[in-house]
Each structure stands twice: as C-alpha cells, then as structure tokens.
C-alpha cells in the first residue's frame, strides 16, 4: 500500500539523505514515489523534516511561530516536489502521523472534506493551500515549509560573508563554490533579506568571473525611470531635496535674485518646491535662475526640463531663467561656465549624490571643490549616502555594503503603501548600486560612498566651513517621514548641525550645508 510505503520511505530519508549526499541525481527511492528531490538536497530535506516533526509533535502547533516564519524553497527545485507531494497526500487519511500532510494543510483534516476527493490538478491544490494560508497567521501567500527563517537568514549572511572572504583572499575556486551555494539559499529566503542577498550573490559572481559592469551599462533614460520610481517609493530623495531646499531658503532669505547651480539636474524634482517657497516669500518672490548640470547622455532632456520648469515658474509668478550645462565629467566644469552675476544674485551650489563618483579618479574631487569655491557661493548643499563603501579592503567594503543595503531594502518592504512596481524598480535601482560597489573596480567603481565625517574632512580641507541646518529643516523632515509611511521605522537625526535620515537607527542619508571659509580665519590657522 502506498501509505505504508510512504511512511517507510520518509523514515528512510533520514538515513538515505546522508548516504546519497554526494550523488547529484534525483534520489531514486523518492522518485519512485513521484517525489523529485535532488540527492544533494536530501540532507537539508531530512533535517527539515526532523525539525518539522519536533515542532509538530508539540501540542500548540497552530500557534507556533515557527510555522509562521517559513521558508519558500527554490521554486524550480521544490515546487514540483511540493506538487507531487500534495497530490500524493490526497490519498492519505488525516490520522497519518507524519507531517507531510501537516506541511500543506494545518486546518484539521476532518473539516476539509475536499481533500480526499481532490485530483492532482493545480486548481485543487490551490484550494488546499488556501485554508492553510488563512489559518496560519502568516501574511505571506506562498507555500510554506516550516523552518525558522531567521536561522536561514543568519546562515545566508554567513554564506555571503564566507564567499566574500574567499574573494578577498583571492581564493576564487572556493569563492565560486560558495557563491553557487548562496544562490539557492538567497532565493529561498523571503523578504528583504532574500532580495539583498540575491543582488550581493550576483555581484560576487560577477567579481569572481570578472564580468565588469561598464558604467553606464544601461540606457540613461532607463536610469531616469529607475530613479523616478525610487523617488516615489521612499522618502530618501525627498528628504534630500527638502532639507537642501530648506538650507537654500535660509541662505537666500533676503536676496533679490537667486542663482542655483545643480550639479546633477536629473529630473529637476528638487526645484518645483523651492520655486513655490520663493513664490510665497513674504515681500515677494526673488528672480530665480537655475543652471542644471547633466551628463552627455541626458542631452536634449535637459532643455526640455528647463522648459517645463519655466512653465511652472510662469504659473506661480516667479521670474525664471534656465541654463543647461552638459559635461562629460564634473571636473570639466570651469567657473566661467556659470556666468555668475554676483552683484545681483546670491549663488547656491547644490549636490545630491553627485560628489562620491568623483572619488574614483584621484584629484577629481579636489578640482571640483576648487571650482565650486571659485564661484563664491553663499551656501553649498551636500547630500550623500551615509556609509563607507570606499574602503581599500574589499571585505570591509562588502560587510559595510551588506549592512547598508539590507537596511535600505528593509525600509522598502512596506508593501502596503508602496505600489509594487515602484518598489521593484527601486530595488533594481539599488541593486545596480550594489553591483557597482562589490563587482566594479578602478574608475568603473563610482559608488564610492563615504560617511559624513569623511566628507567633513574633505570639505574642510578644501576650504569650506559647515553651516548648521536649522530646526525648521528638522521639523520638515520629521513631517515628511510621518507622511511617508513605513511606520515608525524612519527617523531624522541631528548630527552636529547636519541631518541624517535613518531607518531603524541606522543612518542612511546625510544632508549638510557649507559655506566658503572666511579668508581671514584661514590665515589664522
């Protein structure tokens, strides 16, 4: 009878798993029953069944949390296994002690009369999964096999770090073996951790096989789309823009004319809000001139952007002028290009995530900062990622990045508020950064994030002094986060006059403002 056969075979799994561990074929014994399990997976399967047995032998099965936090195994491997298992189980009476039945359906079988009569087609399987999903408190709608996901999460991180260590030691054979193991482990982990791990695994693989992603490897308009989705789905960019704008407004409070140089114009999303604030300034709006700097790939787009902003300016009654500057690199910028009008305009330089790519080439950042200093801005607003992804030691970089992007992805997990397309695109956007941090080297590696303290040193030695961001900026930022969902995860932190946006106490973005050092003060140094 199938039943007894089934029982014995499951018991055999425990011993069989260990014997056939090295065999890469499908396990013959189980496949005879219609279970397609790779023998290399047998040990894991056996272990899980043992664990499940232990858990389910406790009386409070349905309340057990271990069953709620579950793992979705690599679908390509196990879905067929699960399906065949489900179809097999249709023939089993509820009193079967062994757990394969309980794996699939936690509600007492006696309630579920459909079981015995279900056929093995897909729709009936879904019916069976349905009640189970409802009865468990888990919100995840996938087939769950009862294993503690936290434990697999830890194992996943360990595997990633082990692989990174191997890469760091240039032991590429070991690294290769390890990265192959990480892949399925990552796929089996649900949630943010799984996604992050998948990107890091891919990045490690690229590094091992020396597939260097060239930058930009992708259509720039695609890059823009990604950034737009990232803008919509989480408050990081908005925080950056609003905080920088606040600093700008404070600096130009009494100016008759304002000239902003944006070192990375992108979609110009920062400027409507600033223009609106200028339009509502007590005493009337100043004239507003914007010089937007972009790369050669953006081309015509910059001019169109300028027209769009001009239309907005006209609608709200702000005198507006726009100029687009297209340069290959920011170091190509020269002070004359900006055509500053110091007698009638207060100058502001704005950089949101534009400084760190310059660190890829020695001397670049110094040149740019010298150019910025030369145009004599009243304030320079700088927003950068708060992380050290520019360390010389690969392993340190890797660990930092893993920690950082795990937090970022975690903050995106609030799927209730974020439309899933936005979130997916944001993940792709961040994923590309991960690939760059881990797999690229030399001038290709442009995601060279540095912490606020490091930037402070750089800006300090380039001749800039910090300007404290006022309490208004803090309040605005707090309100923005309150509106952005994500519950209580987001926090604004004040750090010596600068603001940081943190997710669950890990700072992720830092915004600061700077002015050119007083010349006389410099002499005294």
């Amino acid at each position: 009878m199938k039943r007894s056969h089934q029982e014995t075979s499951v018991e055999e799994v425990h011993s069989m798993g260990k014997k056939l561990e090295d065999d890469n074929n499908m396990d013959e014994f189980l496949s005879a029953l219609g279970y397609k399990v790779r023998s290399s997976d047998m040990a894991d399967v056996a272990q899980k069944l043992e664990q499940l047995e232990v858990v389910l032998s406790n009386d409070d099965v349905l309340g057990s949390n271990a069953l709620n936090d579950t793992v979705h195994y690599n679908p390509s491997d196990l879905s067929s296994w699960a399906e065949t298992m489900l179809s097999e189980l249709n023939y089993y009476p509820p009193s079967l002690d062994l757990d394969p039945t309980r794996i699939c359906n936690l509600t007492p079988f006696s309630d579920d009369n459909e079981c015995s009569s279900t056929t093995s087609d897909n729709s009936s399987k879904r019916i069976r999964l349905g009640p189970w999903c409802d009865s468990s408190e888990s919100t995840r709608p996938v087939v769950m096999l009862g294993v503690d996901s936290q434990e697999t999460g830890v194992r996943l991180v360990q595997a990633l770090v082990a692989c990174a260590e191997a890469v760091h030691q240039e032991n590429l054979i070991l690294a290769d073996a390890l990265v192959k193991r990480v892949g399925p482990l990552a796929a089996s982990q649900a949630g943010a951790m799984g996604k992050v791990a998948t990107y890091f695994a891919e990045a490690l693989a690229r590094r091992i096989y020396r597939i260097r992603p060239s930058s930009p490897a992708v259509d720039p308009s695609f890059e823009e789309i990604l950034q737009m989705h990232f803008y919509e789905s989480c408050p990081y960019l908005k925080f950056a823009h609003f905080t920088a704008n606040q600093a700008i407004l404070e600096a130009v409070a009494t100016a008759r004319g304002v000239h902003v140089i944006d070192l990375g114009i992108n979609q110009g999303m920062q400027w409507p809000a600033l223009m609106q604030a200028l339009a509502l300034r007590p005493g009337g709006s100043p004239s507003f001139r914007l010089t937007g700097v972009g790369g050669p790939s953006e081309g015509d787009g910059i001019q169109q952007l300028g027209w769009k902003l001009a239309q907005l300016a006209q609608a709200i009654g702000v005198e507006f002028e726009f100029k687009g500057l297209t340069v290959e690199r920011l170091t190509d910028l020269e002070p004359e290009m900006f055509e500053t009008r110091p007698e009638s305009e207060t100058l502001v330089v704005n950089s949101v995530f534009e400084l760190h790519p310059l660190l890829a080439r020695p001397g670049s950042i110094e040149k740019l900062l010298a150019t910025v200093k030369a145009v004599k801005p009243s304030v320079v607003t700088v927003v950068e990622q708060e992380a050290n992804h520019n360390g010389v030691v690969f392993l340190e970089r890797f660990n930092e990045a893993l920690h950082y992007y795990s937090s970022l992805f975690d903050s995106l997990e609030d799927g209730v508020i974020i439309p899933s397309q936005d979130r997916v695109m944001s993940e792709v956007y961040l994923g590309r950064q991960i690939l760059n941090v881990v797999a690229a080297e030399g001038t290709d590696r442009i995601e060279r994030h540095e912490t606020l303290d490091q930037w402070r040193k750089r800006l300090g030695s380039a001749g800039f002094d910090p300007v404290s961001l006022g309490s208004d900026a803090f309040k605005q930022a707090s309100l923005l986060l309150a509106l952005s969902g994500g519950g209580d995860g987001y926090r604004v932190e004040e750090n010596d006059g600068s603001l940081m946006l943190a997710w669950q106490t890990k700072p992720l973005i830092a915004a600061s403002a700077w002015k050119v050092s007083d010349v006389t003060a410099e002499w005294r140094r």
């Binding site: 704008n245 809000a273 007590p282 769009k308 609608a315 605005q476 309100l479 309150a482």
Partner: protein
C-alpha cells in the same frame, strides 16, 4: 417659515406646466433647498469634514461646496501665518491645483493624527511643497525644441 409658506402657496396654485418650469427652486421645504448664496454663507463656518460631506448632498450643494474660496477658508483658518499676503497665497495655490486639492491630498492626512485640527507652519509648508511637486509631475509637457 415665510419661504416655505410661499412655496406651498405656489404649489397649490400653479399648474403642472408651471411646476415643471420651476423645479429647481421648487416646493420641497427643507434645508436641502437653500439658496446657493445662503448655503455658501452657512458653509463658510463649517469644518473640513462637514464641508466635504456637504458636497455629497445634492447637485447644488456639490457645486457650492466645491468652491475654492470655501476651501481657502478651511485651509487658512487655523494656519499659522506663513508671512505672505493672502493674495500671494491664493495666486500660487490656485495655480498649483487649488485649496481643495491641497487640503484633501496633504493637509488632511497631516492633521488627522492630532484631532484638534491645528495646522502649523511646517505642515503648511510641506503640503505646499508636495502640491508643487505633484503639479510638476503631472504637467503635460508639449512644447518641444526643434
């Protein structure tokens, strides 16, 4: 009420044809049939929730309750003064989508947690910023360079 009395007199006397012609200002006694101007005056004094609900009562009420001036009152009534003139504010907000939108999209979500409905300068500034971004995002840009 004098008004309803005159209405009922009209009802009693008028022929069917006449009744059909004057259906709008007609006959039904009731609050729901207030003159638009009177309605406007009344709605000047209600709070946001009431104003929003009023627009669901009837077509006339809907038309009146959508009036930007009423929503401007709602928005500015409890505001801290952000320093600009009302004229300036009106000009900018109307250009960016109007007070009703400003309120429903941003001011209302920002104020519901604290029930006392007081909106500070910061909530206001943030809402205005978000409104302008929304306007910008929705701009159908048609003018292109050759």
């Amino acid at each position: 009420m004098k008004r309803s009395a005159s209405n009922s007199v009209t009802n009693g006397d008028a022929s069917n044809k006449k009744m059909k012609k004057t259906t709008e200002e007609d006959s039904e006694i009731g609050f729901a049939n207030l003159d638009e101007n009177l309605l406007y005056e009344v709605l000047k004094h209600v709070d946001a929730r009431t104003l929003a609900t009023s627009s669901c009562v009837s077509k006339i009420w809907h038309r009146t309750a959508q009036d930007e001036r009423l929503w401007e009152l709602i928005c500015t009534r409890h505001w801290a003064n952000i320093g600009c003139s009302p004229h300036q504010l009106r000009f900018v907000v109307l250009a960016l989508g109007g007070f009703k939108q400003l309120h429903s999209l941003y001011l209302w979500p920002l104020s519901s947690p604290n029930q006392h409905g007081r909106l500070g300068k910061d909530e206001l500034k943030l809402s205005l910023s978000l409104l302008s971004i929304r306007y910008y995002e929705k701009m159908n840009f048609t003018k292109r360079l050759p």
